[in-house]
Amino acid sequence: MTATATSSKTWTEDVLQADGPVLVDFWAAWCGPCRMVAPILDEIASEHQGKITILKLNVDENPDLAMKYQITSIPALKVFEAGEVKKTIIGAKPKVALEQDLATFLA
């Protein structure tokens, strides 16, 4: 399962008003570490279906959101709950480390 893309247009509906936690992967095509972490996030999404929604946001195509959330380093993973950022993870990490960081949302 590949994470669905979100965008400025659908942001409110997809992320801010969503039920349950939503992890947004801020990424870009030119970012090597983003390419490494994407399949790991896909695995986490499939293994924890129903617990967390994982979406991708292309920062090149959505610079307004990248600026709003003060993204200065990617990949940046932000977990939203009830419209608020509950957790930020910066940089690509191995699956085990990501699962630890996200433990409260995956339980």
Binding site: A28, W30, C31, G32, P33, M36, V37, I40, V59, D60, A66, Q70, I71, T72, S73, I74, A76, I90, G91, A92, K93, P94, K95, V96
Partner: protein
């Protein structure tokens, strides 16, 4: 059990894999889960790798090296190595998922990791204006004032690259001359957006939620001053990645894995090392590749001697068995 395990997926690891695979050693290469391809994955144009007169993008070069290694029979696995036991004849490699893999020989080519300045603000603001990767993060500093800390080739490359985005790039360096190669220096000196701040070290990085400036201390008279800016790219060098082996293999004073002369033989038989992890001096893609070649040839020689010893032992067994028969 494998004959040969290679740890690392930079130019040293993949070149070792190409040679070992062509020698029919069926190497298994552990490439890590998120750092596949090593340091070149974070560079743009590589202009000094022989055979590419037009230059080649770092990630593309690494993809080609991997393709070449796999073509001849290397198994590439995207697992992280978390522990090594090199003490016995059988070398044991523990992976991130807890599995243990075994081999007769290991080539250790884990490269190096970027060095941190080691000040409080650096850690706190990492990812909030402090970065170690210009190609990853430069995009977010459009029309901003930023600094690159360092005086080597990678600092010059980052500074020059960052002028695409930033309105102003300071290069902060402790001395008044650069270690960088002449061509990289000239490019940086000629760039109107780059300003050099000589004889200065960064002693603090300021800012609450994001970087607002740095505190500089003069290496000449010790005076300090603040320089307002919005991003800091740290490029002050690399340290060999030896944490998996530092208590098993002999290291040099420079912190690299010790090898015997011009060979790749480490202090443990059957364990070979290659690339930046043994090289405190040159640290080029092509020297790492050459070093990987040496390691593959040394490993091949070692494995052949094991086979010979095995054949002799088998002969000996047969001789002993004769009187009984």
């Amino acid at each position: 059990m494998s004959k040969l395990i290679i740890i690392g997926s930079g130019p040293a690891g993949f070149t070792a894999a190409i040679y070992a695979a062509r020698a029919e050693l069926s190497p298994v290469l552990f490439a890590s889960s998120v750092e596949v391809g090593g340091e070149l994955m974070n560079t743009t144009e590589v202009e000094n790798f022989p055979g590419f007169p037009e230059g080649i993008q770092g990630p593309e070069l690494m993809a080609k090296l991997q393709e070449q290694a796999e073509k001849f029979g290397t198994t590439v696995r995207y697992d992280d190595v978390t522990a090594l036991d090199l003490s016995g004849d059988v070398k044991r490699v523990t992976l991130g998922n807890g599995a243990v893999e075994e081999a007769d020989a290991v080539i250790f080519a884990t490269g190096s990791a970027y060095r941190k300045i080691g000040i409080e603000g650096e850690q706190r603001l990492s990812g909030h204006g402090v970065s170690y990767c210009a190609t990853c993060d430069g995009f977010f500093f459009r029309e901003r004032t930023i600094a690159v800390v360092g005086g080597g080739d990678s600092a010059m490359e980052e500074a020059t690259f960052l002028t695409r985005f930033a309105s102003k790039v300071y290069v902060i360096h402790r001395r008044e001359e650069l270690r960088a190669s002449k061509i990289m220096q000239q490019r940086a000196f000629a760039d109107p957006k780059i300003e050099f701040v000589w004889n200065s070290e960064v002693v603090d990085i300021l800012g609450e939620d994001s970087v607002s400036g740095v505190v500089l201390r003069s290496t000449v008279d010790g005076s300090t001053r603040e320089l307002p800016l919005e991003g800091v790219f740290v490029a002050i060098g690399n340290d060999p990645r030896t944490h998996l082996v530092h208590d098993q293999l002999r290291l040099t004073d420079a912190g690299t894995v010790w090898v015997d002369g011009r060979s790749s033989r480490t202090s443990i038989t059957g364990v070979f090392a290659a690339g930046d992890v043994i090289d405190p001096t040159y640290r080029q893609a092509v020297t790492a590749a050459g070093s990987g070649t040496v390691a593959a040839l040394d490993a091949e020689h070692f494995l052949a001697s094991l086979d010979d010893a095995g054949a002799l032992a088998a002969d000996a067994d047969q001789i002993e068995e004769l009187p009984v028969a």
